[in-house]
């Protein structure tokens, strides 16, 4: 049963990634694209967690944690850049 659940979750998260990808390419403004990228980071983290359960190994944990940290830092950095670009005119 767990295997089925993991596969269903894989499908749902992959669909979510496709929707994020759509917004990343289409997104009319820059903040939209950053938001989509941030969401893709979090969904990639979810994929890593699922891989860990699927292969029954904890080896993916560090990668998931790194993705969480990197995603947060890059979102903050890019938003900060957008704000600054406006201030400096």
């Amino acid at each position: 049963m767990l295997n089925t659940a993991v596969i269903i979750a894989f499908v749902l998260i992959t669909l979510a990634q496709l929707l994020n990808l759509y917004r990343l390419f289409k997104g009319p403004s820059l903040p939209d694209r950053i938001l989509a990228l941030d969401n893709m980071y979090i969904d990639a983290l979810a994929l890593f967690i699922l891989l860990g359960i699927h292969f029954n190994t904890t080896a993916y944990f560090e990668a998931a944690l790194m993705i969480a940290v990197m995603g947060f830092i890059s979102t903050v950095a890019t938003s900060k850049y957008l704000m600054r670009g406006d201030i400096l005119e």
Binding site: M1, I13, P31, D38, N39, G52, I53, F61, S79, D86
Partner: protein, 111 residues
């Protein structure tokens, strides 16, 4: 053991459903500030609950308790409001177009 499998499967599918809903919100909504709501709330809770499912799963594998996935959940819940705040601020400074029904707060000039 069957009970644990049920719990893990439930949390996984619930989490994946919430994450998908967050992305649907990102896809469907009409302006940037409405899009912000899906990812900050639904995706955070979804992926957080998947991490908790993973923690429960590895705790019952026989190698002792495994709680480090809880750290991911904690981290997500702490950082989601911060990045949402930063994005909203950036969008306000960029003057992202939006459809407003009513506004009680004046749009501030970039400071």
């Amino acid at each position: 053991m069957f009970f644990i499998e049920c719990v893990v499967s439930f949390f996984l599918i619930l989490g994946a459903f919430f994450a998908l809903t967050g992305s649907i919100g990102l896809y469907r909504m009409t302006d940037f500030f409405n899009r912000l709501h899906g990812p900050t709330k639904a995706t955070t809770l979804g992926v957080g609950s998947m991490a908790i499912a993973s923690a429960v799963f590895f705790s019952f594998q026989g190698n002792g308790i495994s709680f480090h996935e809880v750290l991911i959940t904690l981290f997500l819940f702490i950082t989601a409001p911060v990045s949402a705040h930063f994005l909203a601020k950036a969008a306000r400074h960029q003057r992202t177009p939006q459809d407003q029904h009513h506004s009680h707060a004046p749009r501030h000039k970039a400071d």
